[in-house]
């Protein structure tokens, strides 16, 4: 176990921990704008994970699309729907304790299933770089690629029509 690998794994686990903390904060904090900022931190943390899992192109995509575009959308929505300087209204249901019951149940089942099954992991092949991704997109997945662009177009027009002020 050379130092390099030791450093990389500790960094990986540290990143995982950081993401969990940021996500937990994002979900519980009262001020909506703070939760949006913590969401941005979780997204960047996840992009770091992708770097560790040798999916560089996806990491760059994640930062570019998620943090660059979707976060801007969310922040604009937060700004438009909350009056500037309004008192922090309680963000969650009064009896939010009840939610923990189903969550605990689902969690227990899920994690116990994961830990029991014997995952025979084969050695990771060569890293996937943008060139192979591009070739796959254009040859094997060309149909879903076109359909997704159509879906995006429909979503774009839909969003404009709904949000347009008369």
């Amino acid at each position: 176990m050379t130092l390099f690998q030791f450093l990389a794994t500790t960094a990986f686990y540290a990143a995982m921990l950081g993401i969990l903390i940021a996500a937990a904060l994002c979900v519980t904090v009262r001020n909506l704008f703070h939760s949006a900022v913590f969401l941005a931190f979780t997204l960047i943390g996840i992009a770091m994970l992708y770097f560790f899992l040798q999916a560089e192109f996806i990491a760059a995509m994640q930062i570019l699309l998620y943090v660059g575009a979707i976060m801007t959308l969310i922040v604009f929505a937060v700004m438009l729907t909350s009056r500037m300087g309004n008192p922090a209204v309680p963000q969650s249901f009064k009896n939010k304790k009840i939610v923990f019951l189903p969550l605990g149940l689902v969690g227990f089942i899920l994690i116990s299933a994961i830990l029991k099954t014997p995952w025979e992991t084969s050695e990771p092949q060569t890293a996937v770089n943008a060139v192979t991704l591009g070739k796959a997109l254009m040859n094997q997945y060309v149909f879903p690629f076109e359909v997704v662009s159509l879906v995006l177009l429909v979503a774009l027009i839909g969003a404009i029509v709904i949000a347009r002020s008369e």
């Binding site: 438009l80 009056r83 500037m84 002020s165 008369e166």
Partner: protein, 386 residues
């Protein structure tokens, strides 16, 4: 920001963006002095604008009521502190009309030369600051200041002080000009058009300036006339009203010069009409230098009044003297009860009256345009608040 005037606003009906009540000023970087505008914004669009003035009120008119006629003269420099000599000119005219003092030929020519040089200073400084509001990082202002320094040095030699000149006396001017005065004015007049061409090359056909200034802050002809607007703002809206041509006061009748007139009445017209006016002033200066006679600079009665101000007898009655100051029609309404002190002293300040149409021009424009519309009206707070 609780702007009292806007408190009774009805809550906005549809949400596009929250209505922002912003108060631009009194210490805002581009309101040319202490001037506040309470603006209601819908996003970037201006819905309502209320100018708030009076921060620089110095009780000018009441103060003059216990000053002798001559002692009022240095205070007129402080009205529109950019063009002190233009203020002196109309105050001197008003008192001379009241007291019936004649002005010798040479003094008339000196007065016209001084007034036109002040017009040059005022217009180039305005063009500079208008561009500064637009965002050009001080470059046009510093070119304008480079030229203005030459003129201010000339004023210092002639009148004694760069901006607070106090040079006019009833019946002429305070003292004769230094011998090389005509030479220096000729040199300025020859070199100024070159500077104007360079400034125009930098600005007039600049696409960003064109798109930012055209069709912005339009002042329709009818509104301009009804609101009593005067000066370049009125001429930019298409009405050729210039007091130098109408009253032909002092000796303006002898000079041949044209009056530029815009047609759209937007910020670009107000900017360009002032550049053309500068070129006309240069024509006047040209003719004035060639025809200036020699002779005494102040009439006998004037000199005696300047030496012993007590002896100046101003008969009972009232008079209204007005001149074409660089910002518009600057008028002095003086009432005298024969006691050596003005009984009533009122200043018709062009900037104050031009300011009344600010809201009409700004409704519907964007925040960035409000600043340049204010800049294009060319107000100086010393004159607005008096």
């Amino acid at each position: 920001m609780n702007c009292p005037y806007l408190q009774n606003m009805d809550q906005q009906s549809t949400l596009d963006t929250q209505r922002l009540e912003v108060s631009l000023g009194p210490q805002h970087p581009s309101t040319h002095g202490v001037f506040q505008m309470d603006v209601v914004l819908d996003g970037e669009q201006v819905i309502r604008l209320k100018p708030v003035m009076g921060y620089l009120h110095r009780n000018h008119e009441k103060l003059m009521e216990n000053m002798s006629w001559l002692a009022c003269m240095p205070y007129t420099d402080r009205l529109d502190y950019f063009c002190a000599l233009a203020n002196n000119f109309s105050y001197a005219l008003a008192v001379e009309k009241l007291a019936g003092i004649e002005v010798p030929e040479r003094a008339q020519y000196l007065r016209v030369i001084m007034a036109e040089l002040t017009r040059l200073i005022n217009h180039i400084v305005l063009v500079g600051f208008l561009l500064n509001d637009l965002g050009a990082f001080f470059t046009p202002v510093l070119y304008a200041f480079r030229e203005r320094e030459k003129l201010l040095d000339l004023f210092e030699d002639v009148t004694g002080s760069r901006m607070m000149c106090n040079y006019f006396r009833f019946g002429g001017v305070k003292r004769d000009v230094p011998p090389d005065f005509i030479l220096r004015v000729r040199e300025i007049v020859n070199q100024f058009p070159k500077f104007l061409d360079e400034l125009e090359e930098l600005l007039t056909h600049n696409e960003i300036l064109l798109s930012r200034c055209q069709n912005v802050g339009i002042l329709p002809k009818a509104l301009a006339v009804n609101a009593g607007i005067t000066g370049p703002v009125l001429r930019a809206s298409g009405i050729p009203y210039d007091i130098r041509k109408i009253d032909k006061y002092s000796i303006y009748g002898r000079f041949k010069f044209r009056v530029p007139v815009g047609e759209a009445g937007d910020v670009y017209d107000r900017y360009y009409v002032r550049i053309l006016e500068m070129r006309e002033s240069l024509q006047i200066l040209e003719q004035a230098i060639n025809e200036i006679p020699d002779g005494e600079v102040i009439s006998k009665a004037g000199a005696q009044a300047a030496k012993m101000p007590r002896t100046l007898k101003v008969p009972k009655g009232d008079a209204y003297g007005r001149t074409e100051a660089p910002k518009g029609e600057l008028g002095f309404y003086l009432v005298s009860d024969g006691s050596g002190k003005p009984y009533r002293y009122h200043v018709r300040a062009p900037s104050f009256i031009n300011l009344t149409v600010l809201e009409d021009m700004c409704i519907g424009q964007k925040v960035a345009d409000v600043i340049i519309i204010l800049g294009s009206i060319d107000i100086v707070l010393g004159e607005v608040d008096r």
